[in-house]
């Protein structure tokens, strides 16, 4: 029961929201579409649900084209950002609503509603009206209502965004557990990275109406491929660089930065993208940077500690190297004071290109600097 979208485009007036968007969600997968607000995430979900027609493109649910199939007959469950519970119906009746549209008998409806109330842990709240429920309870009822019809695919439109952080965390756990239990193919849109981290089998990053990167969050985080994806996911330490010299296994690159006060060359493991001559972007993950009192490793630079933040068991230390700021992660036990001059050390295999295989990607990936540079 997978979902496939082929070249979906949608405009409102002259404003293009989705541009030739393609996506494939496998059966049983929990797929999260991650993107900033106003990028068309809800529009995309409404198109899949049949609540909005696409201007162009094809939608397949369970390998069947559903462009002309109305929302009522697409076999989907939809959870809305603001719950959209029917205010005049109790929790029980809200869940039973979708079941009464079919030919189920009263007893079957009762059994099914009880089962889903149990699943979301709200069996005691079946006679309450929506305005008697808390935000988290409303969202659980909305989820139970969407699941009770046993849809082929479940669509969730930022369902946790109206809840407080504590409740979000709890519901994420529940949501993942329920999805695994029911095995329903799920498409979830959000702007919140924490949702993607906790829920997704795979993530797609939506930017400017297109899917810019799809994969497991781990892979995307390691190789964001475009600067937008890197920045959006909070990948730090991105350096623009130009190739200086190329050896058999390593290369030397010159860092280009407007605020740079001195020439900075770093040794990097050789990557295919280095065959292009001009600019490209490199990323150094903070945990690969070591701060030392004495120099060590293949790359070492003197820098000054400008900020220290506590993040759980670790310290996030921001160091300034001649105008460039890099983030390093240290154990909490490290005693490094602010303004101290330290050696910033990392190996040649620490920096890696943001867009390792950018030659595979189409022209629209404009943020991919090395691609533009490589033309």
């Amino acid at each position: 029961m997978g979902i496939t979208l082929e070249n979906i485009s949608k405009s409102f007036g002259k404003h293009g929201i989705l541009k030739n968007l393609s996506l494939a969600v496998a059966a049983g997968e929990f797929h999260v579409i991650l993107g900033p607000s106003g990028e068309g995430k809800s529009t995309l979900l409404a198109i899949v649900a049949g609540l909005l027609p696409p201007d162009e493109g094809k939608i397949f649910i369970a390998a069947r084209e559903v462009n002309r199939v109305p929302a009522q007959k697409r076999g989907i469950g939809f959870v809305f950002q603001d719950y959209a519970l029917f205010p005049h119906l109790t929790s029980f009746e809200n869940i039973a609503y979708g079941l009464r549209t079919g030919s189920l008998k009263k007893k079957e409806i009762r059994t099914r509603v009880d089962r889903y109330l149990e699943l979301v842990g709200l069996a005691d709240h079946q006679n309450k009206y929506p305005d008697m429920l808390s935000g988290g309870q409303k969202q659980r009822i909305a989820l139970a209502r969407a699941l009770a019809t046993e849809p082929r695919v479940l669509l969730l439109d930022e369902p946790l965004s109206n809840l407080d952080a504590c409740l979000q965390e709890q519901l994420r756990t529940d949501l993942r557990m329920i999805q695994q239990k029911t095995g329903v193919t799920t498409l979830y849109v959000t702007h919140n990275r924490a949702d993607a981290t906790a829920l997704a089998d795979r993530v797609s990053i939506l930017h400017q109406g297109r899917i810019e990167r799809t994969g497991s969050l781990k892979d995307i985080f390691r190789e964001p491929e475009t600067q937008f994806v890197a920045v959006f996911l909070g990948v730090t330490n991105i350096l623009n660089a130009r190739l200086s010299s190329l050896n058999e296994n390593t290369a030397e690159v010159c860092v280009i930065h407007p605020g740079l006060k001195q020439n900075l060359k770093i040794k990097v493991k050789k990557h295919p993208v280095f065959h292009r001559e001009k600019e490209f972007s490199l990323c150094i993950h903070p945990e690969k940077i070591r701060l030392r009192e004495t120099p060590e490793g293949e790359n070492r630079f003197l820098g000054r500690i400008v900020r220290i933040e506590i993040d759980g068991d670790t310290l996030e230390v921001m160091v300034d190297i001649s105008g460039i700021k890099l983030k390093a992660v240290m154990p909490k036990t490290s005693a490094l004071p602010l303004e101290k001059t330290v050696w910033i050390c990392f190996e040649a295999d620490a920096p890696h290109p943001v867009c390792e295989g950018c030659n595979r990607h189409p022209d629209y990936l404009r943020d991919c600097r090395c691609r533009i540079a490589g033309k």
Binding site: A49, L51, Q72, I76, F78, A84, P87, Y97, R100, T101
Partner: protein, 272 residues
């Protein structure tokens, strides 16, 4: 500081004075009418066939109008509230016409339309149907004037249902009729009731259009308002006052029901 305080005091005084004057005017006018008759005279007039017939005709026609308004008006409200189509603005403007047009002109237009040489008159004559100077004519005139009040109120009420509830209903495999019965109707019932009461009150108090279409034939087409006018003009103020008091009681009752409905709506907390 003192100037600001004095200004504030003057402003409060102005508000209190204008409000007091206006409400006094309403109370005095009502009181003046009530005091022209005695309770004994009022009940005596109520038992007279002229008053009874006028009240009966008014009730018959106004309730018929409520019935027809609902069955013809509700689909129009539904259409205008939930659909976007070319020419919708024209339809909405047309709907406003009977509200802003003086009822006398509405009546004249209907009279021309229904008369023997009129657009509909010829067809109706062919089928031997007569609307002018009949109760059916009264109903048509009142419907023409009162229905837009219901349609607009019901339309606002349906339009106020959040779109995502309708979308949620669609994603739960609900057909349009299922959504209408289980979602739209329950959530807009307060607005529908309020619209029906408004239409009923408007039909009951209708004068201009009714007089033009149905004339003033005693005990046949004489509604309460027409009877009040006819008796007042012929110097029979006792009958006029009794009828006016009956109409006031009806208006007051409808006002009470109207307020009760909206109080309930506020207490329930959901839109309608």
């Amino acid at each position: 500081m003192r100037i600001t305080l004095t200004r504030g005091l003057f402003f409060d005084l102005f508000i209190a004075l204008t409000s007091g004057l206006f409400f006094s005017l309403i109370a005095v006018v009502l009181f003046a009418m009530v005091t022209t008759t005695s309770l004994h005279e009022f009940f005596h007039q109520l038992r007279s066939p002229v008053v009874f017939s006028a009240v009966w005709i008014s009730l018959q026609t106004s309730f018929a109008v409520v019935f027809l308004t609902f069955f013809f008006g509700f689909p129009i409200s539904y259409l205008l509230a939930l659909n976007h189509f070319k020419g919708k603005a024209i339809l909405e403007t047309l709907l406003d016409f009977p509200i802003v047009m003086p009822p006398l002109i509405s009546g004249l237009a209907l009279l021309i339309f229904l008369s023997g040489d009129g657009l509909a008159g010829r067809i109706l004559n062919h089928w031997n149907i007569s609307l002018i100077f009949t109760k059916k004519g009264i109903i048509l005139a009142q419907l023409f004037v009162a229905a837009p009040f219901f349609i607009k109120t019901a339309k606002e009420s349906i339009g106020a249902i959040p779109k995502n509830l309708l979308a949620a209903s669609a994603t739960l495999s609900a057909s349009k009729f299922f959504s209408f019965r289980r979602l739209i109707l329950p959530l807009s019932k307060t607005g529908i009731l309020a619209g029906l009461i408004m239409a009923w009150a408007r039909a009951l108090g209708e004068f201009g259009a009714t007089a033009m279409v149905a004339g003033c034939i005693p005990r046949q087409t004489e509604t309460i308002t027409i009877a009040i006018y006819m008796h007042a003009m012929s110097g029979n103020l006792e009958t006029s006052t009794a009828l006016a008091l009956v109409l006031m009681v009806f208006s007051f009752c409808s006002l009470l029901v109207f307020r009760a409905i909206f109080k309930k709506k506020r207490e329930n907390g959901y839109y309608a």
